[in-house]
Subunit: 269 residues, 2 copies
């Protein structure tokens, strides 16, 4: 007789698999954990896969080969994503977010874990195929989305800094031009943070002219790193011509009108 | 006949509950989701609670009253925590982390999601009783731990900034003295970020003299906020006298010797 029932095993398996998305666990691991045969684990996996699928809660993928096993992949379904992003657009359109100069206050959204976890899982779902080795962002506001995207992709985050910190060791520093303000800015990355030939995914919260993303591209060139994608939560409609050609945005910000206190934001689907 | 088996329901329930720690879900919610009676959901909950408990994966707590229901509370068990922190200490002791001036490179650990998620859950487990309304940290390196602590506590993060950003709106700025360098530094917090009377938990990655934590205490005084705790991942042994009296540290850093390339770090239990 098994020590744990199927439902108990499935509860524990769900916790372990979903806690660490995109990380492979072998069937043997679960077999030993529960003291059951691999065939029993297989049946558990099938039941769990079916259940998660039925509620659009993501996929359990089987990875074959020597390093094979199963992994949980967050894959929010399109209807859910569309509702969630529409809801974010509604929040962005609250007139009290408008700051002098037509800026929007969004720090509260960016630093609420359950919101940004969902943003990260949606962002990650656009880049599974690209299989990045790390996610890169610039301090500060991009960090939560980058962390949650990296959590779903199961890779680390690397943070380019605007200052030069003693705790980073030797750094490579570049100057870049902010597309909107035309000011020269500085961005540094620790030499030990990335390795030549790695695959980088650039993530940020907001893109206006694309100067910051372009800065990250130029910075990564110094490291001989491949850039496999650029994702931003919000991109402004203007200027149409960004300093980056290809990027994924979840939300397009059409208009922030300080006088009429009106914000127009719409999902990019 | 039920549309979903107990094991399928439990898989889905686990995903929903553990995805959003410390958030109450009603039994009715699950009853309607699965099309089963509340009594059936109750039995599912008991089975899941027993299973998570058996594997030390956290607690399912029942919250009684009008706003009652069940919630998942990450509560890593002591043996697990002690092994995990010892492992972090071993990583910190790698001689190649030593930077000029006796600083330690720890950004790779702080920005790896599955490491920092565990640090956050351990940190949160020290402060459930304090029930903070938000977690506060200073950019940059404290942000991931603060985010993951807040995820486990189910509250937002608020970030004090060293610069003054247009996207923050009006801010309150203070000057404070770094205890180690004796330099005067600046810290700003958006006025709209917190409300009078809220309960704040201060979280940071590293504490030497305690100047930064003390700066956050002073900054929060300007907002009439209650401080319910201070938690840091690593505190140095020296100076013994910090600028903050009470704090929780997970790791004590005894020594970083640039000459002999030796680091001594030990768990605080």
């Amino acid at each position: 007789m098994n020590k744990f029932s199927r439902s108990e095993r499935i509860g524990v398996m769900t916790k372990i698999l979903t806690d660490r998305p995109n990380q492979i666990h072998t069937l043997n691991y679960f077999g030993e954990l529960f003291g059951v045969a691999k065939s029993t684990v297989s049946e558990d996996v099938m039941a769990l896969r079916r259940a998660l699928k039925a509620f659009n809660l993501g996929n359990l993928e089987t990875v074959v080969g020597a390093a094979g096993g199963i992994k949980y992949v967050p894959q929010p379904d399109e209807e859910y994503v569309s509702n969630f992003i529409q809801d974010l657009c509604n929040k962005l359109s609250e007139p009290e977010r408008i700051l002098p100069g037509g800026f929007l206050y969004i720090a509260d959204l960016l630093f609420t874990p359950h919101i940004v976890q969902q943003v990260g899982e949606i962002m990650a779902s656009r880049f599974y195929e690209a299989s990045p080795d790390f996610v890169i962002t610039v301090e500060t506001k991009g960090i939560p989305i980058a962390m949650m995207t990296a959590r779903a992709l199961n890779c680390p985050v690397v943070v380019a800094r605007r200052d030069n910190e003693v705790t980073e060791g030797s750094v490579v520093t570049i100057n870049y031009v902010s597309a909107s303000s035309k000011r020269i800015q500085t961005m540094s990355l620790a030499k030990r943070a990335v390795k030549e030939g790695q695959r980088a995914l650039i993530i940020d919260d907001f893109m206006r002219g694309g100067g910051t993303a372009r800065g990250m591209v130029d910075l990564l060139k110094e490291f001989n790193v491949d850039i496999v994608g650029v994702g931003v939560m919000i991109a402004t409609e203007q200027p149409k011509q960004k300093m980056i050609d290809e990027y994924v945005a979840l939300i397009e910000l059409k208009e922030v009108d300080e006088v009429s206190r009106k914000v127009v934001a719409r999902p990019v689907l």
